[in-house]
Amino acid sequence: MPNSATAGGFLLVLAIVLPVTGVLLSLVLGGRHAERVVLILMPAGLAVALAIAIEVWRSHNVLQYFVGNWDPPLGVAFRADGLSAAMLVATALLVCGIGLFARGQFTSPGQAERRAPLVFWTLLPAVWGALNAVFIGGDLFNLYVALELLTFAAVPLVSLDGRAETIAAALRYLLFALFGSILYLLAAVLFYGAYGTLDIVLLSGRIRAEPVAWAAISLMTAGLLAKAALYPFHLWLPPAHAGAPAPASAILSGLVVKAPFFLVIRLWFDIMPRMPEPAAAQVLGILGGAAILFGSIVALRQARLKLLIAYSTVAQIGYLFLMLPLALTPEIGHPWSTFAWTGGILQAISHAFAKAAMFMAAGLIAEGIGHDRITDLAGIGRALPMTVFAFALGGVSLMGLPPSGGFIAKAMLLTAAVAEGQWWWAVIVLIGGLLAGGYVFLVLARALADPIEPLRLLTTIPPSRQAVVLVLALCAVVLGIVPLRPSELLQIGRPDIAVAGFR
Amino acid sequence: MSFALNLLTVLAVCAGAFFFLAGTAGLLRFPDPLSRLHALTKADNLGLGFVVLGLLFQAEGLFAGLKLIAVWLLTLLAGATVTQLIAGTARPSGPRE
């Protein structure tokens, strides 16, 4: 880990400054300009994310920046390792896709400013900036502010349509998120009280296995789990994600819940790399397994498409946490541990693309036929073939069928589980895949069935919007075809292992 | 000199504390909202006045003393306003009490 700012570190500043500028401009210009601001911002932000990834790849080292030239612990550091870079690029791609998709839904016709479009086009860059701040944050309190930024950007997206049930969903989401924040903050206070720093790298050098450290880690993990909607903290997620407009659901389900997961990884692998606690990791794994089984089974019983997809998110979040018992083995850096770690991250990224595509496909279907009741989907496969195909591709990744990112991710988790002798996780991965197959086929069977009377769409869905959804779904598939390069990138800057350990 | 000032401070603050005590007792014991408010404001304004007076003997310089007096005046104003508003609500056999 370098102990000064690195070349290219200024890119990290841009990753936050650009979206924040977008928020401010959208708000002050208002009306139709908000949309234009974001559309201009999207390629620029994508370029910055790619530049960061290239710089990390080229230098094979962590990018680091000390804001205001104040070194930690007094100042705040931004850092991007391979994992950050991968998340930044995935986020940028998804935001661009979601932005293009949302153009068809959130436009202000005429001169008058409308509520929903302005809020959406201001909060989209806000979510982006908050996510980037989480991915490159090097200071626990700065990360707290970033998490709050994310919460305040995400919650209003849920209640954008203003119906009582979505307002209730937003309120519940906010209460859970605040509960998570306060636990996180308490943990940060304990870290500072015991070790005198909030900087992640400095903290990892000072932390010792003692009660205060365990208390802080437990509190922080619990807070992050509440925000990540891991079972049994999942109650808020389905109504919130299903109630939001499709592009908002895509960003909430695809990206926003990954931010707290990302911080769990930071906490368990970066802050305390030398103190693995297999029992605690097993507990998190059990919660993950429970999430997979519970989420999948409840998803099977949903009558509405968006709720089905939302419950599937509950299940897929479970997979992320399976990586903890598999990667936090007593001998970290062991090839199988790295295998599991990489599998978990690939799952996070491929699920982001797959789930965003599925939510947006569901949104297009609902626009086309005016509802999203699964039993009445017959004929939609013929009316919107591209959309249903995209939905199916996303489903393939969720099930873990080749070729897809989800397949590689789940195969890596499975292999690690078998190789480490923790076969029970392998069983859960397999059952989860079967159940996912069940609910995806449930939808596809209805969608591809012949309707009793020919299906008439209420409006025409422009092919460009369908194409965006398909491209995102294809991204999830492509991750499964070229997985090795990205997974090598992921290892750059991991403090706990040598990169050479990965083959 | 400083002994005399300290003595004056102690006396004034004690007097202030007495009025606070009396006002609180009135707030708790008087039967209806209006007489409660009466007890509270009369005693509190005087009580705070004596406390401020006592602290004036310890003030470092004119500016600090003026700040103390400003605190008292602002409290008087706020207290009088709020009392009026509460009394206005309470008078026509108001919504509460």
């Binding site: 700012a5 200024f10 936050i16 400054v17 924040v20 500028t21 928020v23 401010l24 708000l27 002050v28 208002g30 920046y65 804001v67 205001g68 030239n69 104040w70 612990p73 007094l74 100042g75 705040v76 400013e113 409308r114 509520r115 929903a116 809020v119 201001t122 909060l123 806000a126 900036g129 701040a133 309190f141 700065n142 502010v145 970033a146 709050e148 930024l149 305040f152 950007a153 209003p156 209640s159 954008l160 203003g162 304990l190 500072y192 009280g193 015991a194 070790y195 005198g196 720093t197 009660p211 205060v212 208390a215 | 602002l74 104003l77 706020a78 009088a80 306003t81 009026q84 508003l85 206005g88």
Partner: protein, 311 residues
């Protein structure tokens, strides 16, 4: 010492009242007292800057917001009987919370000696910032990025509140219109108090660079003065679509960002200040930031747009 223990017990007692009281309105009143007592605790902990913030924002503005909400929610139909949690849940919750408290007590007693601190480092770099108040140095220099993001957090919260407006009122005016009563005591008090309060707010903000105070505390007082004037009917809220209002809201973060980016050119890093210009630049940031925060806080209390201008 005895005073500290007594104050701590008093804080706890008021907190018990706030949590356990049956009436929501009474609980909110308890919360206001809780905040004011905490402000006193902050003075005892040698943190006057925090004490000011706690009194103005944590107790005052938050209390006002919650008081207004509890009155509006206080209708007969909302207080349905049987809303209490089941006894077993309460019992389990009590045990969990007692365990959390016990754990924290152990940690408080086990905090390391000598305590880790950044005070010497903060002191050593003060000269470079040109400031005399270390807390302001942390907020505006060492950790300026937190403060910058913080101003954006406030804006997002405001946008979130605005987003709750019914579509027909979008672009309209927030909250209820209060009409001035020329004979009314509130109008009189507001006319007298607002100019004084504005002066106090500006003073608190201005001394922040050398003494306790600063932009958050000053802005809170300014916001409170606006709310008082609006309640007295002396001013009305502006329509949320107004360009000048939007500009005022974003001015703080925009100037903050701009000067931060200029830091790349003149001091070699984002949000860095050259020694000779540090104080000037910080004041240049603080003035619009104070205005923006004051406007944001006031509008957060005012609520979502609820009427159109001149119907």
């Amino acid at each position: 010492m005895a005073f500290d223990i007594g104050l701590a017990i008093l804080v706890l007692g008021v907190a018990v009242w706030t949590i356990a009281g049956r009436d929501a309105f009474a609980a909110v009143v308890g919360f206001v007292a809780y905040g004011l007592l905490l402000a006193l605790v902050w003075v005892r902990l040698a943190a006057p800057d925090v004490a000011l913030t706690e009194a103005a924002l944590g107790s005052g503005l938050t209390g006002g917001l919650l008081l207004a909400a509890s009155t509006r929610l206080r209708r007969p139909e909302t207080t349905a009987p049987g809303e209490e949690s089941a006894a077993p849940l309460r019992f389990a919750a009590a045990i969990v919370c007692a365990l959390v408290t016990a754990g924290l007590v152990a940690i408080v007693l086990l905090l390391p000696e000598p305590p880790p601190t950044l005070a010497p480092q903060a002191a050593a770099n003060m000269a470079a910032t040109g400031l005399g108040n270390p807390v302001t140095a942390v907020l505006m220099a060492y950790r300026a990025i937190d403060t910058l993001l913080e101003t954006v957090v406030l804006l997002l919260a405001l946008l979130g509140v605005w987003s709750l407006a019914p579509d027909r009122f979008w672009g309209g005016l927030p909250g209820q219109r209060h009409h001035a009563d020329p004979e009314g005591v509130l109008t009189f008090a507001a006319q007298l108090l607002v100019p004084v309060g504005v002066l106090v707010g500006i003073h608190i903000f201005w001394v922040g660079s050398i003494a306790p105070g600063g932009e958050f505390q000053g802005a809170t007082i300014l916001a409170a003065m606006w709310i008082l004037a609006a309640m007295a009917g002396l001013v009305d809220a502006p329509a949320v679509s107004r360009r000048w209002l939007r500009s005022m809201l974003v001015a703080g973060p925009v100037v903050f960002l701009a000067i931060g980016l200029i830091g790349f050119a003149i001091a070699g890093a984002f949000l860095a200040y050259p020694d000779s210009l540090a104080k000037l630049l910080i004041v240049l940031i603080e003035v619009p930031v104070t205005l923006s925060i004051a406007a944001t806080l006031a509008l957060l209390v005012a609520g979502p747009p609820a009427r159109m201008p001149q119907q």
